[in-house]
């Protein structure tokens, strides 16, 4: 328990301090706004476009393919755990699985699905 006491004290101080930084300026400061102060940043350049713009469609295509192959890879895991017990049968099933995936992969590749134009 003891090592956590110091953590708890640290956490308490951090909470109080950060709350104080948030609340005290609102109570103590006298607001005198002007144009410069209203800017998003008081230094640097004004943003010229909306943040979080659109990604190219290509991005989504690659992301989709990634999601599929990523999760299919997870299917290897149960087989890998039981590999010795499953023997040739398991190996055969896995080879079928990989070949099927491979044909799909080749199809996508040949059709230009992986090209970043």
């Amino acid at each position: 328990m003891t090592p956590y006491v110091s953590v708890a004290i640290y956490l308490g101080v951090a909470t109080v301090a950060s709350l104080a930084f948030c609340i005290l300026p609102g109570l103590l400061a006298q607001p005198r706004p002007n144009a410069t102060k209203e800017e998003a940043y008081e230094c640097g350049v004004e943003p010229t476009s909306v943040v979080g713009g659109r990604f190219p469609v290509r991005f989504y295509l690659i992301a989709m393919l990634f999601v599929i192959f990523d999760v299919e890879a997870a299917s290897f895991y149960p087989w890998a755990v039981q590999m010795h017990a499953l023997r040739a049968f398991g190996l055969g099933e896995m080879v079928t699985f990989v070949v099927t995936l491979g044909i799909g992969y080749a199809f996508v590749w040949k059709k230009g699905g992986l090209q970043w134009r």
């Binding site: 469609v57 989504y60 295509l61 992301a63 989709m64 393919l65 999601v67 599929i68 990523d70 999760v71 299919e72 997870a74 299917s75 149960p78």
Partner: protein, 102 residues
């Protein structure tokens, strides 16, 4: 696993499931609706794994694996369709999908 513990898991999964249903029914953004469906699938996963432990069988785990794979494939196809439908419009909103009126 104790009965009370199981009912906790099942309750949580039911809550998640209805959050997913609400997401699909109430939201108008197809991406969010798709996320609602994924939430429903994951609620099923949680219940599957909990039941599987309660009954002491592996079937639920295998089922959950199947569901995860399906969810990924569904997400991929769903994204593809959403991109195809909306890649010319500035807004992603199912209320703009109006050619077919049922």
């Amino acid at each position: 696993m104790a009965v009370g513990e199981l009912s906790n898991y099942v309750t949580l999964s039911a809550v998640l499931f209805f959050l997913g249903v609400a997401g699909v029914i109430l939201r108008r953004n197809p991406l969010v609706m798709l996320m609602g469906v994924e939430l429903m699938l994951n609620a099923s996963n949680l219940a599957l794994v909990a039941f599987s432990r309660a009954w002491g069988s592996m079937v639920g785990h295998i089922f959950a694996f199947l569901v995860i794979t399906v969810a990924a494939a569904e997400a991929a196809i769903g994204l593809a369709i959403i991109v195809v439908v909306f890649h010319r419009s500035a807004r992603v909103d199912v209320d703009d999908v109006t050619i077919l009126k049922g």
